[in-house]
């Protein structure tokens, strides 16, 4: 409780703080739904690697229950196993009892954040990343400029050539870093892009945080594809990070603040939908109401906001493609992004869009629904495990003989690109929408 009272100062009204804390732990109503049938085990990437209960969904839920009931310490063992979870939610797909595991693990992380003191380097790193960097667009831009300097000045090449990265144990992590864009997407905030032809919908684009400095091209491709299919695209100016990474890490107060800022940013505008091309963001945006306990004044705007959120593939597939598409003679395999397939239950839409492109041959890989190991910041915090999962994924991809790996989330794209670099394979890694963009016939209405 000491940790809690230290934190209440940062939260909203002091009276609400206690309730918020009560909600920021796995709830009996949620974990008692697990009937420990074990059907989740074989779907869990970490159980498949190590085969121990402690690193299975069933075992993790059990640990949450034991902690909640005072039979297990909120200590290093618990924290280790909860940290090792990818939060990929493949177990939710497998669960016959409808256990909302994602909700549980995020609550467990919030509980750890408040009740457990991590070693100081982790505290500093987490504080910096989740509280100071991601919520602040200006800081993201500044950090990105530094990184861009490193990548473009030859410093990066030097670091790699001299082996200093390997010495510091950072070689693989460096490969996971996004390549920073020449032109950030921040400059497009506040703009409206008209529909081509008859307007079929008016949509808002959710631009995210890191994506604005590393995936500007994906955003531009998304806008072009939407315009070509009759959508007017607005990029609301005051939007901020969705808070998914903070929320996954248990830093819920930050996630709540970001959510409130986004409610305000998208409030007016009469949008048919709020679209994102990042499955991880989409899943968090759709689940905003879960951040607020019932009775919280933010619950209603959260429900209103979340009700409009659609993944861009979900939206396009249901709207129907009208733009003419040219031929792309490519063998493509699709990696399900966990937070699209398991988090949002969307599997058909991205596949249908890929198949709509003339010339594309879609070849399924075995276990396409298994996580590639990206999992938000997992590849940074649990690099070894992440790379083991990536190696399995690259094997599965190789079996398909595909030239292009399509997926639906920037995090997955970075991870799979690192996979092609580490394993020396030559596939191109693209978002589904980027392939659609390539297939657009220039000059058609």
């Amino acid at each position: 409780m000491a940790a809690n009272s230290a934190r209440t100062g940062e939260m909203d009204p002091a009276s609400a703080a206690l309730d918020v804390f009560a909600a920021d732990r796995p709830q009996y109503a949620d974990y008692s739904r697990c009937v420990h049938c074990g059907l989740c085990l074989n779907h869990c990437p970490t159980y498949r690697l190590w085969h121990v209960e402690a690193d299975s969904p069933r075992g993790r839920i059990r640990q949450m229950m034991l902690v909640d009931q005072g039979q297990l310490a909120l200590g290093p063992s618990y924290v280790t196993h909860i940290d090792r979870c990818l939060d990929c939610r493949a177990c939710e797909t497998a669960c016959p009892s409808g256990v909302e595991y994602g909700k549980l693990v995020e609550a467990a992380r919030a509980q750890i954040e408040q009740g457990y003191r991590r070693p100081w380097p982790a505290r500093i790193a987490r504080d910096w990343a989740f509280r100071r960097l991601l919520p602040q667009p200006r800081r993201i831009a500044a950090a990105a400029r530094l990184l861009r300097m490193y990548q473009r000045s030859g410093l990066g090449r030097l670091a790699r050539a001299t082996g200093i990265l390997r010495l510091l144990g950072l070689r693989d992590r460096e490969r996971l870093l996004p390549k920073v864009d020449s032109e950030f997407f921040f400059s497009e905030l506040g703009k409206t892009f008209p529909a081509r032809g008859t307007r079929r919908a008016r949509v808002a684009l959710f631009a995210g945080c890191v994506a604005q400095v590393a995936f500007s091209e994906l955003h531009r491709a998304t806008i072009r594809v939407l315009q070509a299919n009759g959508c007017e695209v607005v990029v609301p100016p005051r939007q901020v990070c969705c808070g998914a990474l903070a929320s996954h890490a248990g830093v819920r107060d930050v996630a709540r603040d970001l959510a409130r800022e986004n409610f305000a940013a998208f409030e007016d505008g009469d949008f048919d939908a709020i679209l994102t091309s990042a499955a991880g963001c989409g899943s968090a945006l759709k689940e905003y109401p879960q951040l607020f306990p019932s009775g919280d004044p933010a619950r209603e705007p959260a429900a209103c906001f979340s009700g409009k959120v659609r993944d861009v593939t979900e939206f396009l597939a249901s709207l129907g493609l009208t733009a003419p598409l040219g031929r792309l003679p490519l063998r493509v395999t699709y990696q399900d992004s966990c937070h699209l397939a398991h988090g949002q239950g969307i599997r058909e839409a991205p596949r249908a869009l890929l198949c709509a492109i003339p010339g594309v041959e879609l070849v399924e890989m075995p276990l396409a629904e298994q996580c590639c190991g990206s999992a938000g910041v997992y590849n940074v915090t649990q690099t070894k495990t992440s790379l083991e999962l990536l190696a399995l994924k690259m094997d599965a991809i190789r079996e398909t003989g595909a030239q292009v790996i399509a997926t639906a989330n920037p995090g997955c794209i970075l991870q799979l690109r690192a996979g092609t670099a580490i394993h020396g394979t030559s596939q191109e890694v693209l978002h589904v929408v980027e392939l659609l963009d390539r297939a657009l016939v220039p000059g058609s209405p």
Binding site: Y28, V35, H36, C37, G38, E53, A73
Partner: protein, 477 residues
């Protein structure tokens, strides 16, 4: 001071191969059942030699051994009732050899049931036993429990699909039972061994039969206003010599619970539906489907739907396969029972179950493998109320006793384990049990393997099980 056996186990398996800290052992107290029991060690062999060494160490120190696959069992088979060593076969999960021409495969015990079917699907084969947990349960577990599933009706339970076994006895002997011939000369030792619930030996390798995938499958859903009509339908289907691959019944209460979540198109106002799979070569499946359809209509089915394509078939089966989970959404806890009755006695059994439910104040849904008389009543209760837990067990016992009264059995496919050991005398005389014990003693003379299972023992006080009440905060929130 760590016990000397720990050192021996670590020496054989490495530090990653042994768990002994309380926080880890707490997670091996349970399986898919409502039973509990904490082991002292959990070990993870990777090869047969590891298992031989583990058994040797256990023998030297007089510590009991319990085999475990994925821990999905429903009768506590993988639980260390008397403590000791849980031997997890989860890391012995390699498919060693697939012989497509002779339709067999050699696997380690930790291979997941459906993983084998997926691996051989390209050769148009599958491993036929299909328990509901097939996407997680292991073949080693299937062998120990002699598992069945909806398609047991046509294909038989696990024992019909096991050709040979490599086993380590608690005496430390390594034996090879059976061979790859379908009918082995001499005694059928694999047949004796399968279904002994881990009390004869630890299985380290299994040679299984692979079955061709049917060329065609037809799925019918028949809707009834009375359970009697549905039951009569099943009786006539059987009498006519039609062998459905599966024939499942859901009662009205279950249908309503399932439909609100699965949206399979089950009518909400009916008393029973039958889901029937007919498979075989295309013409045969079609002819049987037609005949079955006529039988359903003759017995008063108010609607019979034949799935037009794979998608519709999958939707209908989704309703059945997710039934347990869907019911679980209605209640914090449910207790799935497993009994066998002569299939013609279903109506009277369901009436009796309804009365038992009323007596204890529980809602009870029923899913029935109608073809082979295996009934699964699902009792909804709240585990945080200790009295409710006791009542749920009492209600289940009454149901099972009624099954036996009608000429049925105490379990159809979940096994006896530590759940139904006390009910064994309902079915077997002391002479029967004594013969079984003598057979067991040939393999496991010192009761070192999975003690406290199958044969009736008195429950100790600590085993009167109830979950701890929810934490205060949970109630408040």
């Amino acid at each position: 001071m760590p016990p000397p056996i720990l050192h021996e186990l670590k020496h054989q398996l490495g530090p990653e191969g042994v768990l002994y800290q309380p926080e880890d052992l707490l997670l091996y107290e349970y399986d898919g059942s409502v039973e509990r029991g904490r082991p002292d060690f959990v070990v993870f062999p990777r090869r047969t030699e590891d298992v031989v060494a583990i058994v040797g160490a256990a023998r030297r120190h007089g510590v009991p051994l319990v085999g475990r696959g994925a821990g999905t069992g429903l009768s506590g088979g993988a639980i260390a009732r008397r403590g000791g060593i849980v031997v997890s076969f989860a890391r012995m999960n390699r498919i060693l050899d697939v012989d497509v021409e002779n339709r067999r495969a050699r696997v380690q015990p930790g291979v997941v049931n459906s993983d084998l079917s997926v691996a051989v699907a390209r050769a148009n084969l599958h491993f036929a036993p299909d328990p509901s947990s097939q996407k997680a349960c292991t073949i080693g577990g299937n062998v120990s429990e002699n598992s069945g599933g909806p398609h047991t009706l046509a294909y038989g339970v696990t024992t019909s699909h096991v050709l040979a076994l490599e086993v380590v006895l608690p005496t430390g002997e390594l034996l090879h039972l059976g061979n790859s011939a379908v009918d082995t000369p001499g005694y059928d030792l694999p047949g004796l061994f399968v279904g002994t619930e881990g009390t004869f030996g630890l299985v380290t390798e299994i040679t299984v039969k692979l079955t061709p995938l049917p060329e065609a499958v037809q799925t019918l859903m028949a809707v009834y206003d009375t359970v009697d009509e549905a039951t009569e339908t099943v009786a006539e289907i059987t009498a006519r010599g039609i062998t459905p691959a599966a024939c499942e019944m859901l009662d009205g209460w279950t249908i309503r619970a399932v439909e609100s979540f699965v949206h399979a198109g089950f009518p909400l106002d009916c008393s029973a539906i039958l889901l029937i799979d007919l498979d075989g070569i295309r013409e045969e499946a079609a002819a049987q489907a037609e005949e079955t359809l006529a039988v359903c209509q003759r017995h008063g089915a108010r609607e019979v739907r034949v799935a037009r394509d794979g998608a519709e078939r999958e939707l209908l089966w989704k309703g059945r396969k997710n039934a347990f989970g869907a019911i679980g959404r209605l209640s914090p806890t449910y207790y799935t029972q497993d009994g066998v009755i002569p299939r013609t006695k279903l109506p009277v059994t369901l009436r009796r179950i309804g009365e038992i439910g009323k007596k204890y104040g529980f809602e009870i849904g029923n899913i029935f493998h109608a073809g082979d008389g295996n009934l699964h009543p699902i009792i909804l209760f709240d585990a945080s109320q200790e009295q409710q837990f006791r009542n749920a067990v009492a209600a289940a016992d009454e149901i099972i006793a009624f099954c036996v009264e009608l000429g049925g059995a105490i379990t159809g496919e979940h096994g006896v384990g530590m759940e139904k050991d006390r009910l064994m005398p309902l079915l077997f005389s002391e002479e029967d049990l004594s013969l079984m014990r003598r057979v067991r003693d040939i393999f496991n003379p010192e009761d070192l393997l999975n003690p406290g299972k199958v044969f009736p023992v008195l429950k100790s006080c600590g085993e009167i099980r109830a979950r701890p009440a929810p934490a205060k905060s949970g109630v408040r929130a």
